[in-house]
């Protein structure tokens, strides 16, 4: 029996107002509760446009011609305002600077719950829980712009989380971060997926960092979905032809196989690659 998907996009097409070409063409996408999906593709392929469709920014904030159906948590997105959808779908943006509004961390975490009209005690409870999970209790009165990039993104993620949405979409959240902070953010997102059953859609170019956490990778090209499946299956010849940054380990193995060496598997982590190579070395 098919479970009702948390996100159901059917035959979605969209053209920005005043644009000559469409940004999305016949998108069909189904995401089940608890899935971790990576959305990737070259710049301009439509990933960001698709994300905006899922939380209502399109068509309410960005007008244009939209056809097709978008359902999130049972709601028809097209007929709801983004601020209504905010408690079901959270969107975390690339630049931490432009999504933190308040002069203290505490108040930024409270901003979402305040907006949806929650009673003060409930807001306080959620803010305390967020500060505790992040271990940021000492930072509660600090101004967000005084924090490091990694800390800011953590606050941004939890500022969305305090509204308790079921789906969290993150649009290239690690772009501005150094590798160590990027890794911490991805681990945090992974935790939210595993421990709190949040459904995650992560837009990312850095597939070598993020693939290990994903149940599925969706590749877009020129407004269409061209590949959709588990990471190891998706990182095939076609992926190279599109030009996305397939993890180097997968690339390594594919080339070895082309040169007729007997290595098995499509590793996306160093651990996997190591195990497979040791196998191959020992076998011969």
């Amino acid at each position: 029996m098919r479970t009702i998907p948390l996100i159901n996009v059917e035959d979605l097409s969209f053209t920005y107002s005043g644009a000559s070409a469409s940004s999305l063409q016949n998108i069909n996408l189904r995401v089940d509760r608890g899935e971790f999906v990576i959305l990737t593709g070259l710049s301009g392929c439509g990933k960001t446009t698709l994300c905006r469709c899922l939380n209502g920014l399109i068509p309410h904030f960005y007008p244009g011609q939209l056809t097709g159906k978008i359902e999130v948590a049972g709601l028809d997105v097209q007929h709801r305002q983004p601020h209504e959808l905010a408690r079901y779908v959270g969107l975390v943006f690339q630049n931490p600077e432009n999504q933190l509004f308040s002069l203290t961390v505490e108040r930024d975490l409270a901003f979402g719950p305040e907006n949806i009209g929650l009673p003060r005690a409930e807001t306080r409870r959620r803010v305390e829980e967020a500060l505790h999970t992040l271990n940021f209790e000492q930072l509660r009165h600090r101004a967000p712009y005084e924090l490091s990039g990694g800390q800011q993104q953590k606050v941004a993620i939890f500022a969305v989380l305090t509204m308790q949405p079921e789906v969290i979409i993150l649009d290239e959240p690690t772009s501005f971060l150094d590798p160590k902070s990027a890794h911490e953010i991805l681990e945090l997102i992974h935790q939210l997926n595993r421990e709190r059953e949040k459904t995650i859609i992560l837009v990312e170019h850095r597939l070598d960092l993020a693939s290990q956490y994903a149940d599925r990778v969706v590749v877009m090209d020129k407004g269409r979905i061209v590949l959709n499946g588990p990471p190891r299956r998706v990182y095939s010849e076609k992926a190279y032809l599109i030009g996305i940054g397939v993890p180097k380990l997968t690339l390594l193995f594919n080339r070895l196989r082309k040169d007729r060496l007997h290595v098995r598997g499509n590793p996306i982590t160093v651990e996997e690659a190591y195990t497979r190579l040791v196998e191959a070395i020992a076998r011969d």
Binding site: S148, H183, L252, D259, V278
Partner: protein, 273 residues
């Protein structure tokens, strides 16, 4: 050659960003300046074209001390490409935008139009010559910013975080272009924390931490040293992590790029036959 001699810099608000940096940048070098956020990388590169003057110490560009020269005069030799193209675009057409610096430097109109045409072609922007830069995509705007600096053909080209937000193809193209520039005799310095990008083009690495140089050397040496890498909030490139794990099997842990790894793995497998 750019010589940085015991450079220290303190901001007007008292924050000491640079703490005695010593560095020599030779001709035709390809350098990656890396380090954690707040290490002082951007502050350092602003000293290289005179935007900032040292609080203590000296910066000398081809024999000229930056304390005694204007930004405009040093910029003829040192081209600085900033991170965000939107902080510079203001002209009605891409052509005008790219010509801006050339006009400021006093070149003649016929030289300017030739140079503009050449650089637009080199960076695959000719089709946009008469478009407004504001209508271009993010990646294209970044290329326009780069073109506007390369147009005056500076000897030293410095790029501040050129890979942020770029997809794989764009980075690949950028990497090839930078290598091409060095082969043409230019000196290229990039400020970056993109370890995977650096692992594939292998420039000399200068590691900056808390305003001091804490490491300097070939990529293969620096990026395979876990303590120094961790200290600067970086990670080992994935390939380096793998070759490090395979060391007990005879792997060379100094291999950091994919193509060398392919050869290395083949060697290991054949050796164990």
């Amino acid at each position: 050659m750019i010589e940085i001699d015991d450079l220290s810099f303190t901001f007007p608000n008292g924050y000491k960003a640079l703490n005695g940096v010593d560095l020599t940048i030779s001709d035709s070098e390809f350098i990656a300046l890396m380090g954690e956020n707040g290490a002082g990388k951007t502050t350092l590169i602003k000293h290289l074209n005179g935007l900032l003057k040292p609080t203590r110490g000296d910066v000398t560009v081809d024999g000229v001390n930056t304390k005694r020269a204007s930004v405009a005069s040093i910029s003829r030799k040192v081209g600085l490409v900033f991170q965000n193209p939107d902080h510079q675009l203001f002209c009605e057409t891409v052509r005008e935008e790219v010509a801006f610096a050339l006009r400021n430097f006093g070149h003649k109109e016929d030289v300017i139009s030739k140079r503009v045409q050449w650089i637009l072609q080199t960076l695959d922007l000719s089709q946009y010559a008469d478009s407004s830069p504001f209508t271009l995509s993010g990646g294209e705007r970044k290329r326009v910013a780069l073109a506007s600096v390369l147009a005056w053909d500076p000897k030293y080209i410095i790029l501040d975080e050129p890979t942020i937000g770029q997809d794989y193809l764009q980075k690949d193209r950028l990497r090839n272009f930078l290598l091409q520039l060095t082969s043409q005799g230019k000196t290229v310095l990039i400020v970056t924390h993109d370890v995977e990008f650096v692992a594939e083009c292998k420039p000399t690495i200068v590691l900056l931490s808390k305003g001091k140089v804490v490491g300097q050397g070939p990529s293969e040496e620096i990026l395979t040293n876990p303590e120094v890498v961790d200290r600067c909030s970086l990670t080992l490139p994935q390939i380096a992590q793998l070759t490090r794990r395979l060391e007990p099997y005879g792997a060379d842990k100094k291999i950091i790029d994919v193509y060398s790894a392919i050869s290395e793995v083949k060697r290991l497998i054949r050796r164990h036959r």
